[in-house]
Symmetry: C2
Subunit: 421 residues, 2 copies
Amino acid sequence: MSGALAQEFFASRWVQRPAHVTQDDGGLPAGFRAAHASAGIKPAGAVDLGLVVCDAPDAVSAARFTRSGVLAPPVLVTRDETTPNGLRAVIANSGNANAATGDAGLQAARLMQRATAETLGLQPATVAVASTGVIGVPLPTAGLPAAIGAAAAALDRGGDVAFSEAIVTTDAFHKRATLTVELPSGTVRLSAQAKGAGMIEPAFATMLCFVQTDAALAPETAELLLGVCVKRSFDRISVDGQLSTNDTVILMCSGSSGVAVAPESEDELRFGEALDALLRMLAIMIVRDGEGARRIGRVVVRGPAPEVVERCARAVANSPLVKTALHGADPNWGRIAQAVGQALPGAAPLALDIAIEGMPVCVGGVAVAYDLGALNAAAAGVEIEYEVGLPLTAPGPPAETEVLFSDLSHEYVTINAEYTT
Amino acid sequence: MSGALAQEFFASRWVQRPAHVTQDDGGLPAGFRAAHASAGIKPAGAVDLGLVVCDAPDAVSAARFTRSGVLAPPVLVTRDETTPNGLRAVIANSGNANAATGDAGLQAARLMQRATAETLGLQPATVAVASTGVIGVPLPTAGLPAAIGAAAAALDRGGDVAFSEAIVTTDAFHKRATLTVELPSGTVRLSAQAKGAGMIEPAFATMLCFVQTDAALAPETAELLLGVCVKRSFDRISVDGQLSTNDTVILMCSGSSGVAVAPESEDELRFGEALDALLRMLAIMIVRDGEGARRIGRVVVRGPAPEVVERCARAVANSPLVKTALHGADPNWGRIAQAVGQALPGAAPLALDIAIEGMPVCVGGVAVAYDLGALNAAAAGVEIEYEVGLPLTAPGPPAETEVLFSDLSHEYVTINAEYTT
C-alpha cells in the first residue's frame, strides 16, 4: 500500500518526495494517540472535536500562530497560557472559531484546556486549544466535558484518521499523511493532519495543522525546523487572500523511536527535508481544496529585492482577474502585467518578462509572438506555472519568491454567499 | 423629462443632488460636440471609437491618470505628449487597451492622436488618447484613419449618447449625465461620460471618465476641482481591487457659457459641489455595474490615523469573503472582523466596533446581542452600509474614510473566466 499511497500523497510537480522518505499505511508515530467525538457544536451530532495526545512525559513541541490583529481566544490561550515547547495534547473543535467572542470565549477556551488536562491527568499548560469555523458566534460549551471524556476513552494509535475528520469545515477532502523517514541514526515516523479551504492567505496560511513525530528533537531544533518549513509551505499559499483569526500549527515530538535529531547533523538535514516535503504537500493540498478550486497556479517572481518580488507575487496570486482566468483555462497574461503594475506604482515603463508554462509571452514589457494553441493547451492543465521577471537594479543574483494559489470559481461564490462559514 | 431623469441619476442614498443642480435632457454643454464610429477593433463592426471635441480655441482642461507601474501607451502619450491644461479633443477606443504593446503601441496611440489632430485641424498636443479593453494584444490600426474621419463628420451637440456607447466594454449600462448648475454668476452646464465595470480599484478606480462644461475655469481651478472630486469619487471605489493600466479622467471647459468660475468664489464652491455630486454618482454607478453585481456596500472606518482607517477600509472592501456575504445578503460580520484583523497584524486584542445598517453587532471586539431578523432584512437591501470603529490612541476627532464596493457574484466569475477581457 505504501508505494501507491506515496505516489498519491506527493501528487504535485512542485514537491519531490525525498529519496529517504516513504509513505506508510497511516497510524500515528510511536508515543501518540488520537480520537474524535461529537460535542454538539456542529448540527446533527456531526463529529466536531478532535484530541491528539503525546504519551511521552518529556515531549518537545513548537508552535506557530496567525498574526491577525483579531486573535481568537483559543489562539490567545495556546500562545499565552501554555508551555509552547512542552505541549502534551491538542484539543481542537470545528464548526465554531470561538473568535470575536471576548471574555466568554476566553472562558470557553480555558474550559476546553482544563477539561482535557483533568481527563488526561496533565497540567493545563501542556494542553493546546484550537478552533475553526464561523466567527462571532458564542462557542456552545455544554457538550464539551462529556465529549472530551469520550474522546479520551477512544484514544488510539490509529486515531489520526478520526482526528483528521474532526477538524474539517468546508474541506472537500482530508489532508493528512504518515511518513517513514530513514535517518543516518535510525528510522523515525512523521505524521500530520491539516485542514483549510477558505480564509487562507498571506503570511500564514493554514487554518490548522498538527504534526507528530517519534523522533527526539531539542526544543531549539523543533522551533528551527518548524519555523523554516512553515515559511516554505503555509506562508507561501493563498486561496482568497484572507488571513484567519485562528491559524495554528503545532509540531509535537515524542522521542519514542529513540532516534535523536541533533543540531547541525545529517539527521537534522534529512528530517528537515522530510518535514519540508510533508508541509509543502499539505499546503498544496489546501490550495487544491481552495473552496471550489479546479486548477492551482504557482507564480514565481524574480526581481531586484525580496520585498519587491513578494509584493508582486502576492498581487498576482490574489488578483480575482488572474484567478478567474486560471479557472477558465485562459492564458490571459495581460492580467498578470496589470497586477504587477498595480504592485509597483510609478515604476512605468516597466520592462517585465512573463512566461506561462515556460513559454515567454511578454518580454521587456512588450507582447511577443507565441503559439496560442500550445499556450491554450498548457493553460488547461491542473497545475499552471507563471514566471515573472522584473528588471534588476544591481549586479548579482535576483531575489526570488513563489506563491501557490487556487483559482476563483462559481463554487467559491456559492460556498461563501450561500452558507455562513 | 428633467425631473424624472434627475431622480434616476442621483439614485443612491450616498449622494445628494445639490439644490442648485438639476438634470437636463442630455446633450453636451455649449462648445462641445461628440460622435462615434466603427474602427474594426471590436468584432462585427461594433461601435468602438468615440470622439469628443471642444470648439473653443482657449479651452482649459485637467487630467488624472492611473498610477500603475504598467502604463498603457495611450496614457503615456496623453500624459507626456500633450498640453494637459489645453486639451481640445479626446479620441477613445474600446475593445483593446493598447497596453503592454511596447513601441508599436506607442506608434498606434500617436497615430490616433495625429489622425484626429489632422482631421480636426488641431495641434497633436491638444488631442488626448484613451483606450480600454484587453491587455497585451496589438491595437488594429488599419481602420482608424477612416473611422476618425467618419466620427469627425458626425460630430454633434447631442453626440454624448453616441460617445458613451463607444467607450464601454463589459459595462451593463451607460454611465453619463448632463446637469444644469445654477451659479451666482449665471447658469452653466456640466456633462460626463464614464465607463467601467471590472479591473476597478484603489487609488484611482475609474477606467475612463470624460467631463465637459461650458463654464470658464482657469487651469489651476480645473486642476484643483478635478483633483479634489476624483479623490472623493473614483478614488473611493473598488469592484475587484484591480488597478487598471489605462485609467484616465479628463475635464474640459469650453467657457462658452460666458460664466467664469473664479478661485475661492461662491461660484467655485457651487460648481465644485455639482462636479462632486456628478463624479460620486458616476463612481457609484461603476460599482453598481461591477461585473455581475447585485448589491453594493459602503464601509466607513473611523480610527486613530488616516493610514490605519484606509488600510482597514480597503481590506474590508476587497475581501472576497465580505463580498460574497454581501452578494448572499448574509450579515456575516465575523468576516469584517477577520479582514480588519488581517489589516492590523499584531494589534490583538483589538477592541473594534462593527455596525451593519446602524445596528451594532460587535462592540469592543465582542459579539453583542442583536435582532437577527432585522439584521437579515437590512442585509437584503441593494445598498448596505458597514461601520467599523477602531480604538483611538489620542484625544480629538477620529480619522475617517469610506470605500464603496460591489459584491462578488457567480456572474463575475463567468464574465472573467469565460471571456478574455
